[in-house]
Symmetry: C2
Subunit: 408 residues, 2 copies
């Protein structure tokens, strides 16, 4: 069960004009589950994406990068079950064959199709099953189909993840709706596992690319479940341009700021949902680091804490064994860190200062916070004005169970 | 139960002339367990050490560095139960008070005593209990007491770790005996949790310092259990000079090479014993990376694999889900890595080449190797001549159990 996360009711996921979604049960790896998603875009949509930094990036990521560079994207196709990663040249050919099959069905060019895969690494993609499933996707294409789409991209997720909101942009009502999947192998670097956010706002292509990077950095690039960056991480933002707003073309405009904020809010809601549904998670942990010389060292401290198995198991056990957090801070590789000035709080309880336990700290206060399902660890490095936030979950028996059993 | 490790029989641990050990049950954190060790050195011993790189280094580590710089060490004192880390100025005062108590007992200066602590972080060191226990240690001082000493430094270790051997050095018989402790928070960086190796060889002080660094780099700095570098890691080499050999004073001499090799062999045996007894370990994994541009990138790849919870749980499950190893290699941050040239073997089974699964690979071969208690993962990066080895263990339910329950 996710930590304090309930998927939104299907009717609250607002359709985005110009973006239709259709799903199918293609039997890609397991029979009779939604495992194939087709997203069709009306002509004129702007699309931008950020992708995994893993050197063993998956074949579909290679194809996505190529096709995005060419522009004029008309469709996205997503399969679960098989990641098509660690598959070499045959994997790239399989990704291209998938795009060609979509292009035939929708009467566009293969280079106008973005492919995505998620699932087991190093197994061949069953292209024939995808081809066979695509007509059912096409028959199912509807703009009010986001809830089914969120289900169709799940792997070890226990719940679908989706979010939606509307804002006013110069008199026009603009809708933003997104879905994401991911529960393990989560430590995105420039992107998430799979996240798709669509808006009907009109946005100039270069600005959409900037907005996508900024939204990723403040959402999917702030989360970690187990520190493993996947081979397939992709985050895509679609702007269909149907809302009737004056096209957003100036990064200094209020419209850009408003849209950037709204897309980031949807992306952050999805990113946090991934952590809340993290494999085996029983707690949602926010790590706020401030007082750093730059955001990079704040994030390094946040991730050092979020990746420490000892810290994560202490959260699982509700054990205020908080020296483990100090040890993780000390391991973050912050050059010249004066540990005597570092302060650590759990929620509002001051735990450590002057290199040791705070005089005011009482074990029962730490224990009280550690029992909560949502905990904020706050660290002040006291050497600058930068800050960063990392969201993570605890580390339980079930993480081991899920990952020891995943293929069986 | 450790993976293929049985502690050596006490009578096989050879005494080192000039090095006497005494233990006590001081009740430092739990009643009636061996938790205090005193090591007395005859005058003239050379002593060198390497220590944790964690910025929150423990108070005894600070004191050790100071006292080693002054030289003429006459005693080491080790307590378990409390790490005296994250304890600020009062912690440093407690470490100094411990040294003073030993100095009074042995009629030397406090600066001639090296203090070591291991256990829970951020709790105050009960100096009075240590002082009260020291006379029992002094009464127990014997050169043939290594087996009891190995027991007295254990925390979550399930077995004591010790090793011993003899070599000939220019006609003289030289003995090397060592002990170590550690099972979790293990990813040493320039040192181990606690490791003490003594030899009766005569070695010049500057050369002993070099030998200590080299031995650590090829032993304790090659292991990881959970990627957490402790606040207290310390590795100490003592050379009592009683063996009657011509003092080793030239790094280019065969005597230096022979002694360095023998000390490294003892240190590596102790380091591997720590991994074999890693918290919850059911398998011992050797990761050999070759074909790198330098040893650092080979070690980065080895540690990326050894730290991936997904890889470690797959080893635990005996599941040849080997794409997880490729993903970890891709995450190691090796600039310009050509994944199409990387090859991966499990023991002698070629698993991956040309960016994907090897044509010759059969799942049953991978499954056969994964079922073994000892597995070698071999990676060829095919871009240089450097190599490195990392030793690690798998990640099981019991790791979570041990670390969720440690303080209770």
């Amino acid at each position: 069960m996710p930590v304090n996360y309930t998927p939104p009711a299907p009717e609250t996921l607002l359709p985005v004009a110009g973006v239709a979604l259709g799903i199918a049960r293609a039997g890609i790896r397991k029979a009779d589950r939604k495992d194939l998603l087709l997203i069709r875009l009306d002509p004129g949509a702007a699309v931008a994406g950020v992708f995994t930094q893993n050197r063993f990036c998956a074949a579909p990521v290679i194809a996505c990068r190529e096709h995005l560079a060419a522009g004029a994207i008309r469709a996205l196709v997503v399969n679960t079950g098989i990641a098509n990663a660690g598959t070499g040249e045959p994997g790239l050919a399989a990704a291209r064959a998938t795009c060609a099959a979509v292009a035939r069905l929708l009467a566009c060019e293969p280079a106008q199709v973005l492919p995505f895969s998620t699932g087991v690494i190093m197994e061949p993609l069953p292209v024939a099953r995808i081809e066979a499933g695509l007509p059912a996707c096409a028959a199912d294409l509807r703009e009010d189909n986001w809830a089914a789409a969120a289900e169709a991209i799940m792997t070890t997720d226990t719940v679908p993840k989706a979010a939606s909101r509307q804002i006013k942009l110069g008199g026009a009502t603009v809708t933003i709706t997104g879905i994401a999947k991911g529960a393990g192998m989560i430590r995105p670097n420039m992107a998430t596992m799979l996240g798709f956010v669509a808006t009907d706002a009109a946005v100039a292509q270069p600005l959409l690319e900037r907005l996508t990077r900024e939204a990723a950095d403040a959402s999917f690039n702030c989360i970690t479940v187990d520190g493993d960056t996947s081979t397939n991480d992709s985050f895509i933002v679609i702007a269909s341009g149907k809302a009737g707003n004056a096209p957003v073309a100036d990064a200094a405009s209020p419209d850009y700021a408003a849209l950037q904020q709204a897309v980031t809010a949807v992306a952050a809601e999805l990113a946090q949902a991934i952590v809340r549904d993290g494999e085996g998670a029983t707690k949602f942990i926010t790590i706020e680091v401030r007082g750093g010389r730059d955001a990079a060292e704040c994030k390094a401290v946040g991730y050092a804490i979020a990746h420490s198995p000892l810290v994560k198991t202490a959260f699982f056990a509700s054990d205020p064994n908080l020296g483990r957090i100090l040890a993780a801070i000390g391991n973050a590789g912050v050059e010249g860190l004066d540990v005597g000035r570092v302060r650590l709080w759990l929620d509002d309880v001051l735990v450590a200062e002057q290199g040791g336990r705070a005089a005011s700290y009482r074990e029962e206060d730490g224990a009280r916070v550690m029992r909560q399902a949502e905990i904020a660890a706050r660290i002040d490095l006291a050497r600058g004005a930068a800050q960063a936030t990392v969201w993570t979950c605890d580390f339980s028996y079930d993480y081991v169970k899920i990952n020891a059993d995943y293929r069986s």
